[in-house]
Each structure stands twice: as structure tokens, then as C-alpha cells.
């Protein structure tokens, strides 16, 4: 065992990334507060996400990490604080504008249950384009390309019930990326998968996001999943843990 351990001693070679991270924040949140009744789920959170950056949001159950994702993505309106996308405030937009933003600038991947069970994989992946008014044939064509890219060639006609968990997540990833979003929000995307399927999903997800230059906010409680990100923040009791050192990164 000692041999195994010393074989993999830290090496000095830098970790290479397909896409350089743009240091200017694409998404920036300051002083976010969110309450549910008497409970303060977020108690003053600051986050900045650079273009093309993959950021892991970690923390124990109930720490507020999913609430943070929902506030950043315009699913929930914060009680205090601001969220800006490319410098423009998005937290105070009305529901219609926020809904449009979620369809055009953002993509989403959740733990499970996000695909429409009656639709085949290719139509599930094409949904954002269809909702944005693109023609059916071109939307389906784009979805076929994305499914193939994520290793799902030949499974286009299968319904979600006929796919494995890992395949279904890759359909969800194709759907999240198909409309060319700036940011994909992923909440425990491998939470319901075994180790191997989870690894395949994370490999393909992060590779596709890096190739496309799409930023990712990745909520996970698993360190192995967080290790696919460029850096991590930890939410504990509604605050960023070790926030004072955030600026040192």
C-alpha cells in the first residue's frame, strides 16, 4: 500500500484545462439572504462565477446549498442581496423575464425526474429549442448531434423509462446545453447514480461544458464529484465557510 501511495505523490505538472477561465465574473451575487418562515436558509452569501468556470458548491444536507443555486438561477427571489448576470441585475426581474432568462441563458440538471416520461430521448433533449420557437426539424437535428456527442447515439427513440440512470442524466445534460446557455446549474447530478455511471456522466458533462465554454454551478456533497470543478465553496449554516479566504484564490 505504501508503494501505491508514493506512486501518486503530488506532482508539479499543472492541471490543464480545455478552456481558459475568464477572470471577469459572469454571475455575481452579493449579500444574499433567503428566509423560509422563521428559518434563514441563506444569511449573507457572496459568490462570483467567471465565464467558463466550473464551481462546486459543497456543504452538509440542509446547509443552504440548493437554496443558493435556486437564488443564483432565478428560480427563487432572495429576500435581500443582489444577483447580477454580466453586470445586469436579475434578482428583481418579474417572473416572465426570469422565466425567459432561465430558458435562454441558463441550463439545468437535477438529481432525477427531470425528463418528460412520455417523450423519447431526442425530444426531451430538443425541448429548450422547441420552447424557444425553433423549427421542429432543426431542433431534433441539433438534439441528435448532442445525444451522439454524449455517447447516446442509437438511443434517440427511447423513453426515459427505457434508459439507465446514467443515460437519462446524459439526456438531461444534452437538454441543459443544447440552447447554448452561459451557465448550467446542476444540483447533485450524480446523486442517484453508482460510481461508474457517475464518473461517466461527470466526465462527459465537464468535457462538454469546457469545450463549449459554459460555466457550471455544481451542487454536490461528494468530494469526488467536486474534484471535477475548478474550485469549490462550502456552504455551512447559510454562510460560505472560510469566506475570508475566498479572495485569496
Amino acid at each position: 500500500m505504501t508503494a501505491l501511495r508514493s506512486d501518486l505523490e503530488p506532482h508539479t505538472a499543472p492541471v490543464t484545462r480545455a478552456v481558459a477561465v475568464d477572470p471577469r465574473p459572469t454571475l455575481e451575487a452579493t449579500g444574499l439572504v433567503k428566509r423560509f418562515g422563521q428559518t434563514e436558509a441563506l444569511r449573507g452569501v457572496d459568490v462570483a462565477l467567471s465565464a467558463g468556470e466550473i464551481l462546486a458548491v459543497m456543504g452538509p444536507s440542509g446547509s443552504g446549498k440548493s437554496t443558493l443555486l435556486h437564488c443564483l438561477a432565478g428560480i427563487l427571489a432572495p429576500d435581500a442581496g443582489e444577483v447580477r448576470l454580466d453586470g445586469q441585475r436579475i434578482d428583481d426581474l418579474g417572473e416572465t423575464a426570469r422565466s425567459r432568462l432561465r430558458r435562454t441563458a441558463f441550463g439545468f440538471v437535477f438529481q432525477f425526474g427531470q425528463l418528460v416520461p412520455e417523450l423519447p430521448a431526442v425530444e426531451n433533449a430538443a425541448l429548450p429549442l422547441l420552447l424557444n420557437g425553433q423549427s421542429r426539424s432543426s431542433a431534433i437535428e441539433a438534439a441528435e448531434v448532442w445525444l451522439d456527442r454524449l455517447g447516446l447515439g442509437g438511443l434517440e427513440g427511447r423513453r426515459p423509462g427505457e434508459l439507465s440512470g446514467g443515460q437519462a442524466q446524459r439526456v438531461a445534460i444534452a437538454r441543459a446545453l443544447i440552447a447554448g446557455p452561459r451557465i448550467v446549474f446542476a444540483d447533485e447530478p450524480t446523486g442517484s447514480l453508482d460510481s461508474l455511471a457517475g464518473e461517466q456522466v461527470m466526465n462527459q458533462f465537464t468535457e462538454a461544458a469546457r469545450t463549449e465554454g459554459v460555466a457550471v454551478v455544481l451542487v454536490t456533497h461528494e468530494p469526488r464529484v467536486a474534484a471535477y470543478a475548478d474550485r469549490e465553496i462550502v456552504v455551512r449554516d447559510g454562510r460560505i465557510s472560510g469566506a475570508a479566504r475566498e479572495g485569496d484564490q
Binding site: 508503494a3 490543464t16 452538509p60 466526465n203 468530494p223 469526488r224 474534484a227
Partner: protein, 178 residues
Amino acid sequence: MTTQYGLLGLLEEAPRHGYDLKLAFDRVLSPQRPLPFGQVYATLARLERDGRVSVDGVERVEGPDRKRFAITPAGRAALRTWLREPLHPEPHLQADLYVKVVLAIILGDPLDDLLDAQRRAHLERMRELTALRQSAPLPTALLADYATFHLEADLRWLELTAARIDDLRTHLATRGTA
């Protein structure tokens, strides 16, 4: 210990010269740290003495004689016994980490800072291993997986300990360190 069984396993696959054996060992079993020649020959001499390998033939190709080694039935039996026997499930917990955490609890120091610093260091290493795994040949990727899972186990233990910190402090306050 593992080296001799690694060599036996490769010899069961096919008889080999010491040099070829070393190359196969490095490629498949120890991609990050080559086995020193001296250790290969010393281990083979010990295996031969114990009747686990035998010299299968000697070749002379422009230079010194090259012995070709083969596994014996006794070697095969020893290898099978070793393969079937589970390893002692020795905790990989790093003693330093354990001592730090227990001391922090005893002294009432904030565990969150320690946890954050350790998580940052562990995750940085796990990121390197993840990148390595995506580009490396299979043996190296398997080792990277192995290391990643153990680092993750360290972190999970730290998280759990941090989550139980109040209970642990109460326990220590009522029972002391004796």
C-alpha cells in the same frame, strides 16, 4: 511483500527474463514508480530459493547470459493463496490528521478552520488525480481512482466528525481524556 506476488503473477502469465519482467511490472503494476533492478533480481533469487520460480532456460544474446524464469506449481499455489486472502483492513487514516482533530476537540479550538484547510488541500490533490485519470493509461487511472477514494474517505470522516463536534465535546467534558 506485494512485489513478489506481482512478479509471480506476471510469470504465471508467461515465463520472462528479469529485464522483461521488470518492464511489465512497471507498466502494469507500478506505472508511477519503476521497480529498481536490484529489487527485481533480489526478489527473483528469493523466489527461486523458496521453490516458487525456476530457471526455465538461459539465453546468450551479445552479452551476459539471460535467465528466463517460470513460475513453479508451488509458486502458483502461493500466488492463489495470496490472491484469495483478503488484505488486513487496516485503516488508512493518516495519524497526523487524527491527532490534529482530536487535539482540536480537546482544546476547544474551532474545527471548521481545520476542516476547510484540509478540504482545500485534499480537493486540490483530488482535482489533479481527476485530470490524471482522464488522460492516463488504465493502470495509472486505476491507481488515481484508488487514491481519490481514500482521500474522499478522509474528507467524509472529517465532515462527520465536524457534524458531531458538540456531542464529542460533551463526551470529553464528562469523561475527560483519561
